[in-house]
Subunit: 273 residues, 2 copies
């Protein structure tokens, strides 16, 4: 069973009730973060905490807990779950409002959840994504604003695709919940703006630095035509090959060796974490 | 005391707890509506219901209740509140998700709340707003996305202002939670796009049709310079004069006679509703 922390109290997660004046619920004013544990330990904790703190600062929300207190809560929740490894979700909202619009004190929620891994078949076959002309507002903040991809769920399904790849004016940014990379020869290229700076993205770039020339820069749609490989990164997806983007087949239409190599390096790192 | 309806159950509003897998909370996937009662009756009920239904359709959310059932719930909640008049809030979210992203069944919340009327002084003196280069995503849907104005709360306060007036590329759309009008001679002019189509806006246009030439069309920032009057409309604000926009004084910098006339017509309508 999963437990959750809500404003100082730990209870089974399904017993937590968020009041109806919460600004996350009423006004979409919330941010979150999400990470996995490996060997019972929060993966890249320092980086996730830094990002969570940065999101809070940019949304003018004070954090009710210090880093060390939060870590202690997380470890407690992990232990209570009884599971070897879990996903951990932080949600920080504008809190309960007296007038339905003004922040008084943020609400902080910390939950463990089951990990929903990508299927082996998706790694073997790669995934299809469809292009969507969109750029997230405040993309660098991990806000709770995912209206777009939920709204497009039917279109994604109808296309037999897995996700959206956002682009605006021909410049690619990211997938709906994960980052985007292409490989051309020895170059590993990933967009540098209008994106959420993923921790898996950062980890993969670090793992790649000896074997690739890593380029963080604007990436144009036109560059997809001669990409050898493409993949997406997130805590859950790790390094997941993309073999089709709309009508365009990437490389030979199947997962390539370089993404596989990076996934292997990533799995090695997490196995020994 | 205010009561609320949540997925079929009516309880005191402060006892309602929304579960932590709600997509409104986790993913900002929600919409709402909000109206007042006059003489104990929901004002412009047909129009509000139509808008709520339209918002739900555009966000691919099915409504758990029919119009008549909803009306019965609303009347029950009004009676339970023990108040002569109340505000009524509908919130419809993507509901509880099994995977934190996919809609299963929407959650519907209906609440009564205290009315927070605009102070007499604000009607007497008019308000100041500041310009903000922004346009709401899916502006015609009353989604719960109000990140922008909450984020700008400090800037609004620092400017001694009351709200934001959104513009993009020199074209004015709306305030953060209300519509915008200017008066030039006998013309009553209001933006027609990138806006939420307010019910008070619609009511005011209807009330104005005999005395004004009503124009719904794109409105440019440059048109503010020779506007005689400006005002904003919403259920709570009714017809509220705007006397300053950023550094620009509108007309003579005090509420004008034509907005006052429209407010009078509006108050007559609601008094006899």
């Amino acid at each position: 069973m999963h437990y959750g922390y809500f404003n100082g109290t730990i209870t089974p997660a399904d017993q937590i009730g968020v009041g109806v004046t919460d600004l996350g619920l009423l006004r979409g004013y919330g941010l979150f973060d999400y990470f996995l544990t490996y060997n019972g330990r929060p993966f890249q904790w320092d980086w996730y905490w830094q990002r969570f703190q940065n999101s809070a600062m940019r949304m003018h929300l004070s954090l009710p807990l210090e880093k060390e207190e939060t870590y202690a809560v997380v470890m407690d929740l992990i232990e209570k779950s009884g599971l070897a490894d879990v996903a951990v979700r932080f949600v920080l909202t504008g809190g309960y409002a007296l007038d339905s619009i003004s922040i008084v004190r943020p609400n902080l929620l910390i939950l463990t959840e089951d990990i929903h891994p990508v299927t082996p078949r998706q790694y073997e076959e790669g995934i299809k994504v469809i292009l969507d002309e969109y750029v997230r507002e405040m993309a660098e903040v991990k806000s709770t604003d995912y209206k777009r991809v939920i709204l497009m769920a039917d279109a994604i399904k109808a296309a037999g695709a897995h996700d959206l790849l956002y682009q605006k004016g021909g410049e690619i940014s990211e997938l709906s919940r994960s980052n985007f990379f292409i490989i051309k020869g020895e170059r590993l290229i990933t967009p540098n703006r209008h994106i959420l700076h993923g921790i898996t993205r950062r980890t993969v770039m670090q793992l790649a630095q000896d074997d690739f020339q890593v380029q963080e820069r604007p990436v144009l749609l036109s560059e997809l035509y001669d990409a050898d490989e493409a993949f997406t990164t997130s805590s859950t997806k790790k390094v997941l090959p993309i073999v089709q983007i709309g009508d365009l087949t990437i490389g030979e239409g199947k997962p390539g060796p370089k993404a596989a190599y990076l996934l292997e390096r990533f799995d090695e790192l997490t196995a020994s974490y």
